[in-house]
Amino acid sequence: MAPFIAMQRRVFVTGENMTTPKPGRNDGAEAPSRRELLAAAAGAAAALIIPATAAISATAPETGLVLHRGWVLRADDLPRLKRA
């Protein structure tokens, strides 16, 4: 039989869904994926700058977006941010 106090603690977490992970656990600040590590190891720091439409959706008609380390950016973002 489960200890009563532990059980109360377990089932009385509130929020949208009472047993979802703690805030911040999945906030996007994760370790890089294997693919990112491989890209970095190849010495291509910017290797993940590829057309976003190709990476995200092969059928998307949009142009002018790029994918950079998971960020979906406009093509002129990176040069501008580099200057900022």
């Binding site: 047993t19 996007g28 994760e30 693919r35 998971g70 960020w71």
Partner: protein, 490 residues
Amino acid sequence: MILDSEARTDDWFAGKVFDVCVIGSGPAGATIAHRLGARGFKVALCEAGGLLLTPDSQDLYEGTSTGAPQYYDLTACRLRYFGGSSNHWGGWTRPLDAYDFEPKAHNPLSGWPIDRTALDIYAGEADAILNLPLDTAPADFFDNHPPELIPRLFRFSRPTTRFGELYKDDFDKSANVTVYLNANLVDMRLGDSLQAVNEAVFQSYEKPGRFSVRARAFALCLGGLENPRFLLNANSQISAGIGNENDLVGRYFLEHAHAPLGRVVVRQPLTRMICYAPSPEFMNEKQILNFGLRIGSFDQWNRPDFTGALDPEPACTIDFDTLLKAEMAGEKAACPAMVGDAFVACEQTLNPDNRVTLTDTRDRFGLREMNLNWTLSETDRRTLKTAATELAKRMAEADVGRMRVLPWLINDEMPNKDQVYGGNHHMGTTRMSGDPKSGVVDADCKVHSLANLYVGGSSVFATSGHANPTYSITQLALRLGDHLTTVLRA
């Protein structure tokens, strides 16, 4: 009147036939019992637990789970006492969308035998029961939102309705509703022709022996996992279990696949959580199902007092590019109101292998425990990925902000339990259908093969949409109360 079945005597049920025996006092059961009692019907409301949580009762939720991502501990994702799982409900509500009721070619068996208008007429009553604010226009951070993404509103039950607390005094004073606490359903006895339920059989924890409640109609409202578990266990007269002639009880289990999608940096401060759902045309084009995107602050919307408004922040004097550059570098947000989280809850494909089955382990009353198998289909994963990428693209195109999509979504990796998880929404296991070959209950929530057994709660959902289920559960319970009123008066 509220009675403890541990204190029962032989004369409690002798010669008594209730109009309705409602089993389970969560949102569905309590609502049905209250409605029928107010209309003069004699109701037995049988609750397996007491007025408070006890280990004796909660431990009866033990079971196992299989599949991936791993599902929650089955004793932690629901509550087995008066008021049921409403006792830890988070209070998020919205109705199902009208197109959730329609069949979709890329989700075989989808479609309900009713449309949304059948539930809309109960919206006002559901709003009042659930303490909801007025239904207002949803927030939108696009000047002209793309046709693919439709703004949606969530409303929050505040103070959050706990159905036991809501109805306890009424039940206590009622001459028509008798609540029997500590009454664990262990069997149902059918008539000789096996076409109707004569009595429901119960057992309490301490007092030896079983007792039976006879009624003209029965409403099974044990929750989306226990409804099928009981029906499968009830095999003393029908070997496959009650209502399981077509091997459907327990199948088509549905959850809402919840997933953090990534971080956002926006140009205008977020003052409210913003939500989007896909248009029907977009769902068809991409062969995906419904989803509810949320943009805001993860730590704020998981607070139990969250109402949709985000905490006000001092005016941000830092320009967008500086904020974006900092976030891209993984630095802590200097203006939290302009940096937030994107999250989604997705509808799942109807999959007969996502199901409740029985194991060989028996509980203290001799009923077999359950195994829950839960998996994500390719369509489910496509829906999750499309939600993330569509939002990211539309934000950048409209220049309202930028979004980082989590790597597993971009790389098409199989998610783990920290990346995709359920919402503790247990649906579909006695699904509604006009055809007994594709559903357990009919449009009136009556078990197809029995004349007087009804099912309440989210197990009757034919599909789940993306909306949190309590609102629809309440509407369906009010509707079932009306249907039983008509049947019992005939």
